[in-house]
């Protein structure tokens, strides 16, 4: 068989120069993605990145793998379609906090609870960057935005607890200022069989003057190195997740990064295959048996 050349992270980059502002956290995110893919030895032709609209959603354009750049908020369902059609592909969603938790927030719960084997990377800058500074669902209270001149009066969404309660089987947080941690977490997320979600704190120096690299520099704490070992314990994961936003309200609070939760469960595709095996598709099948059997089947 032909020997495949080992690919370096740079080999996963397209020839397009990113259009992001100097100092944008998203530069780090694509470095982490390319590092993770090269270390996992997944070839670009077997990867599909799907993004919505936003500065962050430009990420796929700067990567060499296949991609789809679709409507604002619709990256997850599009990625699901790709995965259903072609289960052998590694399917990544690369999008922003606005894309994933505002306009597209209705798709997360269903992808998570069905345990569809895709990896969602949320580049969370707590702001709408592309539309030039409006508050996002993850913005802290009081944050200035062009439509909220007196500061946000909304409570922020907690992306970690959100995804945990909807049944995601891999939930982690990382930080764009820590390349090693970021690529390590992304690697584990991609390797996880099932739905994986990584919230990546990725500062926007242009518009978010509060949640900056400087702010996060000494704020993060690696939960896995500090006692959180039982990562298949949902209760513990939720307790930790509830502390995620504490730093918005208390100066001494830290920002937890690391894997909150990871559990192997049958994926959507596994369950479909199991049903297919059980019923052995046949032209003579009377679909009524599903209706009858569902009444007694353990769920």
């Amino acid at each position: 068989m032909e020997q495949m050349l080992e690919l370096q992270p740079a080999d996963y980059r397209s020839d397009i120069e990113p259009t992001w502002c100097p100092g944008c956290g998203d530069f780090g995110v694509i470095s982490a993605i390319t590092k993770a893919l090269s270390e996992l030895k997944i070839r670009p032709e077997n990867v599909v990145s799907v993004s919505g609209i936003g500065c962050s959603s430009r990420a796929p354009l700067f990567l060499k793998n296949y991609s789809m750049h679709v409507l604002h908020g619709r990256a997850i369902p599009t990625a699901i379609g790709v995965k259903l059609a072609n289960p052998n592909l590694t399917v990544l969603v690369e999008a922003g906090d606005g894309d994933l938790f505002s306009i597209g927030s209705g798709h997360n719960p269903h992808a998570a609870r069905r345990n569809i084997d895709i990896t969602v990377l949320c580049m969370d800058n707590q702001v709408y960057g592309l539309t030039k500074n409006q508050i996002s669902p993850t913005s802290r209270e009081g944050l200035y935005g062009s439509l909220t001149p007196f500061g946000s009066i909304d409570k922020p969404v907690n992306p970690i607890s959100y995804m945990l309660t909807f049944g995601a089987t891999f939930v982690a947080q990382t930080y764009a200022g820590n390349l090693k941690h970021m690529s390590d977490i992304i690697k584990q997320a991609i390797s996880h069989r099932g739905f994986s979600f990584v919230n990546i704190i990725s500062p926007c120096p242009t518009y978010n003057k509060v949640d900056t690299f400087k702010y996060y520099k000494d704020k993060t704490i690696d939960i896995n190195e500090n006692g959180h070992k039982e990562i298949d314990n949902l209760q513990k994961a939720l307790e930790l997740a509830m502390k995620d936003l504490e730093h918005y309200y208390s100066e001494s609070a830290k920002v937890p990064i690391g894997i909150f939760y990871k559990k192997e469960e049958p994926t959507y595709q596994d369950r479909v295959n199991e049903i297919k095996q059980r019923y052995k598709a046949s032209k003579d099948i009377n679909p009524q048996i599903f209706i009858d059997e569902c009444k007694v089947l353990p769920v």
Partner: protein, 389 residues
């Protein structure tokens, strides 16, 4: 797995023996899907579409489809269709009324993203007062997306249009989504005779490598416009790229016409080409128009039928030619806006001759008497009351 043999597209659509069955429009759509070698169906339920997608779900259970996925709602369903088709699958979905309008967000971008999918549109009221009744105003929203839009008169059309659409949509010189529209309930839940190709024959599988565009998104204009600074920062470049891309989409749309001729016997059907007065209609209204023309001819009146099967691409030349000597053109419709009347007016020189009546909406039936009234009026025949027996 049920044994089905792959046969040539031309053989299946044009030559294969046909068997006559008495079935509903929903069944006719599902029977076409069964013979189309579909990989995946994705949908979200809505009346009156639900029955069709339920029957397609049964096809999955019977092994005719590889996958069947129920999305979280129509934004999700239509986006997943785009993903699945770009992922290499042949995909089918159907929706109705409010589901179509919700899905339109993604559907509007399918043609530009070059997504050859087949979409069943089983019409339903979208305007308030809300209702589940048949009304086809939603088709007007579809007409400007760039996709091919066919309008089926009856169960037979539903079968033929759906099956042929899978073949036409994937032609390399077309490569666009196709909507097969028909009236909810009137066609979907009523039975009619359908001549169907054998159950054990299916279309060849999709070959996703036979495509007019490379599959890497950032190499093609939908993403390219946003990808590099010179393009993105120069509105002029962006306009130009968008312009040539959309021109290509609409040219591809027009190229579907030759396949509509080949597989669907042309975009129009004409009865009595030398008629003085024409009733021009599409979809279910064409069935009533057909009846009206039959009555009129029984009464010795010189009335003809122009049935329009393809709404987009619109058969401008054919419509102009058919109507060139018509004194009056009556356009009965199942919607309040009269989109078909407008389209016909826009395509013929003597547009004053178009009578955009009768129109029924909100699910009302279209009695033949209403069309006859317009025929009498157009011919100057005075009647107290039109009662047909």
């Amino acid at each position: 797995m049920p044994e089905q043999k792959v046969v040539e597209t031309d053989y299946l659509l044009l030559e294969a023996p046909r068997e006559r069955k008495f079935i509903t429009g929903s069944q006719a759509m599902a029977e076409a899907v069964k013979r189309a070698n579909v990989d995946i169906a994705i949908a979200y339920p809505i009346t009156p579409q639900s029955e069709t997608m339920h029957l397609v779900g049964d096809l999955w259970a019977q092994g005719y489809l590889k996958d069947y996925y129920r999305a979280e709602e129509e934004y999700g369903a239509m986006s997943a269709i785009a993903g699945a088709v770009r992922g290499g699958a042949r995909a089918f979905t159907a929706t109705s009324g409010p589901g179509l309008l919700r899905g339109l967000e993604a559907i509007a971008s399918w043609p530009g993203h070059r997504i050859p999918a087949v979409l069943g549109v089983l019409t339903r009221v979208v305007n308030a007062p809300l209702s589940i009744q048949p009304d086809n105003v939603e088709i007007s929203y579809l007409m400007n997306c760039g996709m091919v839009v066919l309008h089926a008169e009856n169960q037979q059309d539903v079968f033929d249009f759906t099956l042929a659409s899978f073949a036409i949509s994937e032609m390399v010189d077309v490569y666009l989504p196709i909507a097969v529209c028909t009236e909810g309930f009137f066609v979907t839940h009523a039975k009619g005779y359908v001549n169907m190709t054998p159950e054990d024959m299916k279309l060849p599988p999709r070959d996703p490598y036979k495509a007019p565009v490379p599959p890497t998104d950032c190499e093609i204009p939908p993403a390219r416009i946003q990808r590099d600074a010179p393009v993105q920062k120069s509105n002029f470049m962006s306009y130009l790229i968008h312009q040539v891309w959309q021109q290509e989409v609409w040219s591809s749309n027009m190229r579907a016409m030759k396949y509509i001729y080949k597989y669907l016997n042309g975009p129009i059907e004409v009865i009595n080409p030398d008629a003085e007065v024409f009733v021009a209609a599409s979809g279910c209204a064409a069935a009533q128009a057909r009846e009206a023309v039959r009555y009129a001819q029984m009464e010795g009146l010189n009335v003809g039928l122009l049935k329009i099967k393809s709404i987009v691409p619109f058969p401008s030349k054919e419509v102009r030619e058919t109507l060139k000597n018509a004194k009056a053109i009556i356009v009965p419709e199942h919607n309040i806006v009269g989109w078909l009347a407008k389209e016909i007016k826009a395509n013929i020189p003597n547009s004053d001759n178009v009578i955009g009546r009768p129109r029924v909406y909100g699910g009302m039936t279209l009695p033949v008497e209403l069309i006859m009234d317009e025929i009498y009026a157009a011919l100057g025949i005075k009647k107290d009351k039109t009662v047909l027996v």
